[in-house]
Symmetry: C2
Subunit: 270 residues, 2 copies
């Protein structure tokens, strides 16, 4: 197979199998090409990817000399994207009763969700993560976007127990902002003891929901390695119950009366 | 820029922007390459993609001579994948009380979800689809997987109205299998009048939930162009209230007593 064909085929493979370790001989054999030619292909791919700031190929040592594709948004790309998010969110038409912001259009856009996922996943690149956990409903697409970059499964905490999941563990917690008692449920079968977990959600106000998830995950002896949210609201900062987290944007002010919203970059790139 | 570098860059672009129409001059300019060279690049990409059965480049006529990447699983790839799904689902450990099957591990695997989405999206390749609609919770990842291939937004029908979405339309419907009255809600703002909709869900038994979604979508004068589910159960076929749909697999028998499950390919490839 010619180099040009191999490059296209390799790119399909890497995009379909992010973070999957593959031994070089697998490619040599598949393409009927010398190991040195495949190495050159990989060098080209790595160089262009780094140049475009969308990831890189990680070479792994050992007898078989493996490689894997790490999709990663560069700081520069992330900065531009987060600035775009801020601008979109500052549209006064997003103001809903109660000081909430309408974000469903953004969370409903698969391309945007996938970018948010890649930026968040990039900030956790150095953490050991076995599984992404979120709570139904709005965090789900973001959790999948992060998980597909990290190549790990997603586990969804529910607010209502369902018959179709077998036995489960549940906890009650106090919602940070509404101060109401709520329930969270996770099927026993869905999470292994001692897993390294990344919690993802769309929005964090006082942090009660995320804190609830942490308590529930404690029941599984899970280790919470990372917490990531799309947006945080900082109007109640002194009441926040979660301290270690990454946010892409920070909603600093929602003024319904004067139809003004102020959104700044979050702490993800700090 | 050399051909090899251009190919890698183009592949990044196509994988990041499925179904997005791009004029050829955009590429010529970006790479400082003649239009004829870019055309040759695209021919190579198209040929390899078709050969691997994962999609193709669609050339669009007109002055600017555009192109777009249509990710599509070939019949052959789809068949192999559906066969794998059947084998996975026939594991007797999946049997839950009440004749349900545990599928959360499969639905929690982003790579598997993305494949399911690509196979489903391939079966709707000829339909006009503006938006993918699903109902919380388990259909959500599949809906995003289909939507990202089709490059359209996702709208999530909820079972509980939420304060953060503004005014909404709700309906009551009778669940097909449990015969209980349930509620579905869709924020007014989330769907345009007359949209062409593809409904996606993880599981269909009698079809009551999907029928409920169709009724709700009628309130928006939406046109349901396609209905796709991962799995259908056919033990109550004569009671089914939805007739036009595509399923990847069909669970024909769940025998808790003898710990046996029988799963066959659904009608997606018919």
């Amino acid at each position: 197979m010619k180099r040009s064909d191999r490059l296209v085929s390799l790119m399909n493979y890497f995009w379909e199998n992010p973070r999957e370790h593959t031994a070089l001989p697998v490619f040599s054999e598949r393409y009927g090409a010398a190991k040195s030619s495949v190495s050159e292909d990989l060098d080209i791919i790595d160089r262009v990817m780094r140049h475009e700031g969308i990831g890189y190929l990680q070479t792994l040592p050992g007898a078989s000399g493996g490689v894997r594709f790490i999709p990663e948004f560069s700081q520069e790309n992330s900065k531009v994207f987060i600035r775009e998010l801020c601008d979109m969110l500052e549209d006064p038409e997003r103001i809903l009763p109660g000081g909430y912001l309408y974000m469903s259009d953004m969370l409903g856009n698969p391309k945007m969700v996938s970018r948010i996922g890649r930026v968040l996943a990039s900030t956790f690149a150095d953490e050991q993560i076995d599984v992404v956990v979120t709570v139904a409903t709005k965090g789900i697409p973001l959790a999948y976007a992060v998980a597909s970059v990290l190549n790990v499964p997603v586990v969804i905490v529910r607010r209502d127990p369902r018959v179709t999941e077998g036995s489960s563990v549940s906890i009650n917690y106090v919602s940070g902002s509404s101060r109401k008692i709520q329930t969270m449920v996770l099927p026993k079968r869905s999470l292994q003891e001692g897993a390294n977990v990344c919690i993802i959600d769309d929005f964090m106000k006082a942090g009660g929901t995320i804190n609830g998830m942490i308590s529930l995950l404690n029941e599984f002896n899970a280790n919470v390695s990372a917490v990531g949210v799309l947006a945080e609201a900082d109007d109640e900062e002194d009441e926040r119950v979660v301290d270690k987290y990454k946010s892409l944007v920070k909603i600093t002010n929602v003024d319904g009366k004067n139809q003004q919203i102020t959104v700044a970059p979050g702490n993800a790139l700090d």
